[in-house]
């Protein structure tokens, strides 16, 4: 484990190092891999304890043939034939509202009953027609002799038997399977029942259901819509562009001043600059907030990008160190030629400092993209939210967290940075090296 020496470490040590690094890499990457895996699963899979290792990464689903067509299905529940009575699959001969299968009152009541929101009312009002089948249970009872199905709501409709599931104490497992469509991914509750009668369904034994992998890219559009991705992205990009431009321009100008121009108090001021890096955000947060309030900037984006146009201690420090390392003769030559300082800056210094400037731009972009506390304090209107804030407010919604959607949104939120990193890797590494140069 020696540091970089000329000779390579012996083979056994190298294998050991590989092993350790590989194990560590697995642990470091596993959360991200799992994030992407969860983002492609349906909600029900995320709420299920995985039985095999494969289950952890790929959601599983089922396929079965219903009435001759193969569907993706979900196992709604196990049909345990009661020990005394048979369970029936019946075909209703007259239509009725789906909600009557679950509610002890009919549509006249639930239409007026205000506890249901529009979506739920829609589901309960869907009609059950003779093309569909109804599975009887303790609440909806079927009388085969009279051909009458008594619903929970009390209504009696004519129905004919389609299949009879015998009472058997130790029969094979029977499942109620229901057609599953990708749109179902957006339901907040696991196993949403209650009136999904426009899906094909059947009662099938285990051996007629096959297990498959289920990957749901539909999670992504749904998640992006729910976090108002387009708008948030636009807001975030606007801020990134403004802050990067500001940081670059101001840091270059100020660093040039500290590096090449002499004026009284220069070193003292530079020392103060370095010292300000130690001031915690919490100290200035509130007075700055009140300052912005007096300026009338709260509720706009200005507090988030205006300060970057005035320079940042960290980048000024770094750029100044970098400038000091540039060859002096070029600058002297330009000065002799009669260039003003700004021109020297633009025509001589900047082209030589591309890597350092790229680093300033990159780190500013990274910082603004990731920023959470700033937008939290200064942005009030949802239409202004940046990606960070949209994601956080989505995560803190009530009513159960849709993890699959959350992970999809998180993946999309992080991916640009990772791609950016890969594209500009050399600059990154060099930039980090520079931060470590002067301890």
């Amino acid at each position: 484990m020696a540091a970089a020496s000329e000779k390579k470490a012996p083979w056994y040590l190298r294998v050991c190092i590989h092993a350790i690094l590989a194990t560590g890499a697995v642990f470091f990457l596993l959360p991200l891999v799992w994030m992407m895996a969860t983002s492609l699963k349906p909600l029900s899979e995320t709420m299920k304890y995985p039985e095999t290792v494969a289950d952890i990464f790929v959601g599983s689903g089922h396929r079965a043939a219903i009435d001759g067509k193969t569907y993706d299905v979900v196992l709604e529940r196990e049909v345990r034939p009661s020990k005394e009575k048979p369970t029936w699959v019946v075909r209703p001969l007259e239509p009725f509202a789906a909600g009557e299968l679950t509610h002890p009152f009919g549509p006249q009541t639930w239409m007026k009953y205000p506890v249901f929101n529009q979506q739920e009312l829609g589901r309960m009002n869907t009609q059950v027609t003779p093309e569909m089948r109804v599975l009887t249970d303790d609440s909806n009872r079927f009388d085969p002799a009279a051909g009458v199905l008594t619903l929970v709501s009390g209504r009696r409709v004519k129905a004919e038997a389609v299949r009879r599931v015998e009472p058997s104490p130790e029969g094979t497992k029977l499942w109620l399977v229901r057609e599953w469509r990708p749109e179902d991914t957006d339901t907040k509750e696991v196993g949403a029942t209650g009136g999904e009668v426009d899906r094909a369904w059947d009662v099938l034994p285990d051996d007629r259901i096959e297990k498959t992998a289920r990957v749901i890219p539909q999670n992504y559009p749904v998640a992006l819509a729910r976090t108002h991705f387009g708008r948030s992205l636009a807001n975030t990009l606007f801020l990134c562009v403004m802050t990067v431009a500001g940081a670059v321009v101001s840091s270059i100008v100020v660093a040039y001043g500290f590096a090449f121009l002499e004026f009284r108090g220069r070193n003292v001021l530079f020392g103060v600059t370095v010292a300000t890096m130690m001031i915690p955000f919490a100290i200035t947060m509130i007075p700055v907030y009140l300052l912005y309030r007096d300026l009338g900037w709260v509720g706009t984006f200005k507090p988030l990008w205006v300060t970057s146009w005035f320079g940042s201690a960290f980048f000024i420090f770094l750029l100044r160190q970098f400038f000091l390392g540039l060859p002096k003769d070029l600058l002297d030559a330009a000065r002799i030629d009669g260039c003003t300082d700004l021109e020297i800056l633009w025509h001589v210094v900047v082209p030589l400092s591309r890597p350092a400037i790229a680093m300033v731009a990159l780190f500013t972009f990274l910082g603004t993209w990731k920023d959470f506390m700033g937008p939290l304090i200064y942005l009030n209107h949802q239409s202004q939210f940046t990606l960070s804030l949209s994601l956080q407010s989505f995560a803190s919604e009530h009513g159960g967290t849709p993890w699959h959607l959350l992970m999809a949104a998180s993946t999309v939120f992080s991916l640009p940075l990772i791609i950016l990193f890969f594209a500009t890797m050399k600059t990154f590494i060099r930039g980090i090296a520079m931060t470590g140069i002067k301890g």
């Binding site: 706009t300 200064y378 009513g399």
Partner: protein, 484 residues
């Protein structure tokens, strides 16, 4: 000018322009897709934003009230905007100088916001519109007042009661009768509640709880208020001193601690971890995991959403023996006009509409009773909350109580609630209990916990009393007048 200088100057000008134009770009709360009607009225009406906390069917109920107002006149158009953490956002936006015109917050926000100057007083508006005090049930109006001024008005009200699962009671009828209890009625005192709960508990084969008769931590929103049911108070109404360490409060905490310890804290923790969210069929009470629960007036609506044929009963929550009752904790949601709002007069028009015609709409659709002294005709008939009467009676009951009207209430309430959690989770040392069983063990547990409870509550009282005294002293200095 040399090109470089020109370039830099141009850049600065562009940046200034962006900075100036930026807020003008249509950054509003209003969602054109949802409020399609508003496009026609954009120029003819004053548009104001109403930040409110309700989502789901409660939110839709409020939206119906807003729609009714928008239809009833053509000067103002109110936009309902569902906002999470609406109280914090109100502070931020008011301090920041750009608040909405209407906010719906909670009653415990009134005093701090009013004290901090975040709300505009409504008394002049009320006088002009002819809205008098006797329009309201007194306690609900008191929650909106501070120092003789009204800073908000009620929208939806709350009272709480005991919900009991009739199906469980019926199933355990024989056991209840054997214990000398009546399975056809709920408990009438807290001691009875404990006895009912003990019989109603059911355990699985491995000793873990299957059904708990009662859990004081469900739903856990009013853990600070249990002392009131033991005759205690969190503040002395006469002297204004904070009394979290009142002996009745200590008794309440001891009572709750018994529930924590009786069946093993770890087992209870796992049991409680399996509860679902409030608005789901996996709610502890709705699913039947807890037989009795203290909940609010909205609860029957939620029960009927998820388990429409559940048989449950509602009765006033029992008090300890010797404590006058029935009583209930009264809270409410309020609506206010933030200071610095751009259209206060138009905002008041909506509030006035709400207080006269809007509240009955809201009450019916949310399944709650009203803060109004006189119930408008037609409100009770067909009201979806079949248990409304119990709550209405409780709201009018003389012993029902509201939170102490002190400026440090929010922090005080949070600290008492945390003290409750701390006591609930506090591990009772095993050493002194070694070898004790039954009543002796119970007595020893009580003795050990009592000290911890008293210390915890005393610390809360002392700290908060100090803060309160300081706040009052500062008040006096600021305004040269006596604080409440």
């Amino acid at each position: 000018m040399r090109p470089v200088h020109f370039g830099l100057a141009a850049l600065i000008v562009v940046v200034f322009l962006i900075g100036y134009l930026e807020p003008q770009v249509a950054l509003t709360d209003f969602d054109p897709k949802r409020d399609a009607a508003f496009r026609d009225t954009w120029n003819t009406r004053v548009h104001i934003a109403y930040w409110e906390k309700w989502a789901s069917f409660e939110g839709e109920a409020c939206q119906k009230m807003v729609e009714a107002f928008n239809k009833s006149q053509d000067e103002v158009f109110v936009h309902y905007i569902q906002t999470s953490q609406v109280d914090r956002k109100t502070v931020l936006s008011t301090v920041g100088g750009a608040p909405p015109d209407l906010v719906g917050v909670w009653d415990n926000n009134v005093i701090p916001f009013a004290e901090g100057g975040a709300l505009a007083p409504l008394d002049d508006f009320m006088r002009e519109s002819g809205l008098t005090d006797d329009h309201y049930i007194p306690k609900y109006l008191e929650l909106c007042r501070y120092r003789g001024k009204t800073y908000a008005l009620p929208t939806a009200v709350m009272s709480g009661a005991l919900f009991w699962n009739k199906e469980h009671f019926r199933r355990k009828a024989a056991d209840l009768r054997a214990a000398g209890l009546d399975p056809d009625r709920p408990p009438r005192t807290i001691e009875e509640l404990d006895r009912y709960a003990a019989v109603l508990n059911e355990f699985n084969a491995d000793g873990s709880p299957g059904i708990m008769g009662f859990l004081p931590t469900e739903p856990g929103w009013w853990n600070h208020a249990w002392g009131y049911y033991f005759g205690g108070n969190l503040a002395d109404p006469k002297t204004g001193r904070l009394t979290a360490d009142d002996p009745a409060n200590v008794r309440a905490f001891l009572w709750a601690k018994r529930y924590a310890e009786a069946y093993g804290r770890e087992k209870l923790l796992r049991f409680r971890a399996g509860f679902g969210t409030f608005d789901s069929p996996f709610n502890a009470f709705i699913e039947g995991k807890v037989s009795m629960e203290y909940q609010g007036v909205w609860f029957p609506m939620f029960i009927r959403r998820h388990r429409p044929h559940m048989e449950f009963g509602v009765a006033p929550f029992p008090c300890a023996a010797g404590v006058p009752g029935p009583r209930s904790y009264l809270e409410e949601d309020v609506i206010a006009i933030p200071r610095g709002a751009k259209h206060p007069k138009e905002a008041w028009k909506f509030i006035y509409f709400a207080q006269t015609q809007g509240l009955p709409i809201l009450g019916r659709l949310q399944g709650k009773h009203l803060a109004l002294a006189a119930t408008p005709p037609g409100f009770r008939e067909g009201h979806p909350n079949l248990e409304l009467k119990v709550f209405e009676d409780l709201a009018a009951a003389p012993h029902s109580f509201i939170a102490p009207r002190v400026i440090v209430w929010q922090e005080y309430r949070d600290r008492v609630a945390r003290a409750f959690e701390h006591v609930w989770n506090w591990p009772v040392p095993e050493g002194p209990l070694a070898g004790l069983t039954g009543a002796a063990r119970q007595a020893k547990v009580d003795a050990l916990c009592r000290e911890e409870i008293e210390e915890t509550l005393h610390e809360v009282t002392v700290t908060m009393q100090a803060k309160l005294d300081r706040a009052r002293a500062l008040d006096t200095r600021r305004a040269g007048r006596a604080a409440p």
